[in-house]
């Protein structure tokens, strides 16, 4: 099984300042499942950087990423035709459902994995996504969700688009009005914890972030304490049931 391969950059587009969408050839890596991620090896960097699968359209792998530091900056400088070493797909990913009402909650870059979720689960389930960010700029990517079958609610802290507030603002009403079978959420830990307090009675899957080194459970670099003992975000996650990880 090929787990590491040099893939060729097909496109690396700056959608908005510091927010990029990268398109790569699929190569011979295994097909990704929703919510999985890849490790990117960048020249001169010791550790590979984890980025979620944003979309697999049957031909290419897409990634949606923010430039944070040196690693993501180096990703952003990749030019069409250049090669980049990817390791993956890694992690458990989101559980696949069918014929369910599913709520997706995305904070900031947490929206990255949900395009692929929309593509894979949209036809067979009823999806609603709340996507929140600081301002409209960070939500430009939402346009690319329109071809898929899901309802979208946006929120922005500055009110520049959608509902002014956080993803929590529309949440209560929504949960009162509609009965979801399951919630997937991804975003800053603080948001995930807040969501976890609001959502009860239905399974709520959260996708966590943690600095990583190996991505395969070898180094214990990404371990977290859970109700069921130590778990590795890279191997046992990144997706966990909220109750398992936010129990304190």
């Amino acid at each position: 099984m090929v787990k590491i391969e040099n893939l060729i950059v097909q496109e690396n587009e700056e959608i908005e300042k510091n927010l990029f969408r990268l398109k790569l050839t699929k190569g011979s890596l295994v097909l990704p499942k929703i919510g999985q991620f890849y490790l990117f090896k960048l020249p001169g960097m010791t550790l590979r950087r984890p980025i979620s699968i944003h979309l697999y359209d049957g031909k290419s792998l897409f990634f949606y990423y923010a430039v944070k530091g040196e690693g993501t900056q180096k990703i952003s400088r990749l030019k069409s035709g250049e090669a980049v070493s990817l390791q993956g797909p890694l992690g458990n990913g989101f559980k696949e459902f069918s014929k369910k009402k599913i709520l997706l909650v995305a904070g900031g870059m947490g929206i990255a994995p949900f395009l692929y979720v929309a593509k894979q689960l949209g036809e067979d389930n009823a999806l609603t996504m709340i996507a929140g960010a600081r301002s409209a700029k960070e939500l430009k990517i939402v346009r690319t969700f329109l071809p898929y079958n899901l309802k979208i609610i946006t929120t922005s802290e500055d009110g520049s688009t959608g509902i002014k507030g956080s993803v929590l603002t529309p949440l209560k009403e929504l949960l009162g009005k509609e009965k979801f079978a399951v919630v997937f959420s991804c975003g800053p830990e603080q948001m995930l914890r807040a969501l976890s307090k609001e959502i009860s009675g239905i399974p709520h899957f959260v996708s966590l972030e943690k600095n990583m080194a190996c991505g395969t459970g070898a180094c214990m670099g990404c371990s977290i304490k859970t109700k069921n003992g130590m778990k590795k975000v890279c191997l046992d996650g990144p997706v966990f049931l909220d109750k398992e990880v936010f129990y304190d």
Partner: protein, 305 residues
């Protein structure tokens, strides 16, 4: 004898000098989907303790210039679970020499763990980790005191029938005194270096990056320190040495051997490039051919001539 084979000890032979370093290759089962770990000369398992250990909280790894910091803190299943859950799979899938990396927070714990491991044939040697910088007691706090190094080595040697390789810390004033202490304690081999004590700052948060504040620095950044420590060790001992610290390619392996290592282990860069082992072995083979060496061990210690 092949060109790359290593007679490390009369009862410990490697088919080539490349081992996986403790803590960076799990229990040698994490990369089965990536490559056949049995191409390695040997494998050193993740640090083991008597009781299960959760390790440190908060962030545990962060990149630094040509290196990384880790503050894993010896998270492991503990002896019982290791024997039940990991060892059978290791026995089934790993055919190269398997070395356990043993840890304790008291000298007694090291001894007890060594005793318990003695009956497990699959474990062919013990790497006595006296150098973990990420635990409150034991580890580096022992490995920086010559008397402790001597006494624990001696006690563990008496508790086991397996070869004992003592893994030392570079965070010491006098490397040679520590190496001698291990040798006098009866060590069968020396493994060095473990990580350098370091830290990173998240200036945005105005806090240390690692949950444990300090962590161990590893990777290419520390290779000069590792080479120096192996050189110093070789100056005072004829024991076989496993060199470790920042190895990323065949040239680095040769450098470690040139200063006195008989074998090497690779940690950080194996995390980064899991597939590098095959390439390194090819390159070492080529080197032997180009240099007309019968066996790569001929270059061990050439820098001392």
């Amino acid at each position: 004898m092949t060109k790359l084979s290593v007679d490390f000890l009369s009862n410990l032979k490697f088919s080539n000098p490349i081992l996986s370093a403790s803590g960076c290759f799990g229990n040698s089962l994490s990369y089965l989907e990536y490559f056949d770990p049995n191409i390695l000369g040997g494998t050193i398992l993740k640090g083991l303790t008597l009781k299960p250990k959760d390790g440190n909280s908060g962030e545990r790894v962060i990149e630094t210039a040509s290196g990384m910091l880790n503050s894993v803190g010896l998270e492991n299943l503990g002896y019982d679970k290791f024997i039940k859950e990991s060892l059978p799979e290791i026995e089934a899938k790993i055919s190269i020499p398997v070395i356990a990396n043993i840890n304790g927070s008291t000298p007694e714990e090291y001894v007890l763990l060594a005793k318990k491991l003695d009956k497990h044939k699959k474990i062919v040697a013990l790497e006595l980790n006296l150098s973990c910088p990420n635990v409150k007691s034991g580890g580096m706090s022992f490995g920086t005191q010559a008397k402790m190094v001597h006494d624990i080595t001696l006690a563990v040697k008496q508790a086991t029938s397996k070869p004992v390789i003592v893994k030392l810390s570079p965070n010491v004033t006098d490397m040679q005194a520590i190496v001698l202490a291990a040798a006098e304690g009866g060590a069968d081999g020396i493994s060095l270096i473990n990580t350098l004590l370091g830290m990173a700052v998240d200036i945005g948060k105005k806090k240390p990056v690692l949950g444990n504040t300090f962590g161990g620095l590893s990777g290419p950044a520390i290779k000069p320190v590792g080479l120096r420590c192996v050189y110093q060790a070789r100056q005072v001992t004829n024991l076989p040495i496993i060199g470790v610290g920042g190895i990323a390619n065949a040239k680095d392996v040769l450098e470690y051997m040139a200063v006195g290592a008989n074998a090497v282990s690779i940690g950080t860069m194996l995390l980064s490039e899991p597939l590098m082992v095959g390439k390194i072995l090819q390159d070492l083979q080529k080197y032997c051919e180009n240099e007309g060496l019968k066996n790569l061990q001929e270059i061990v210690g050439v820098c001392h001539q």
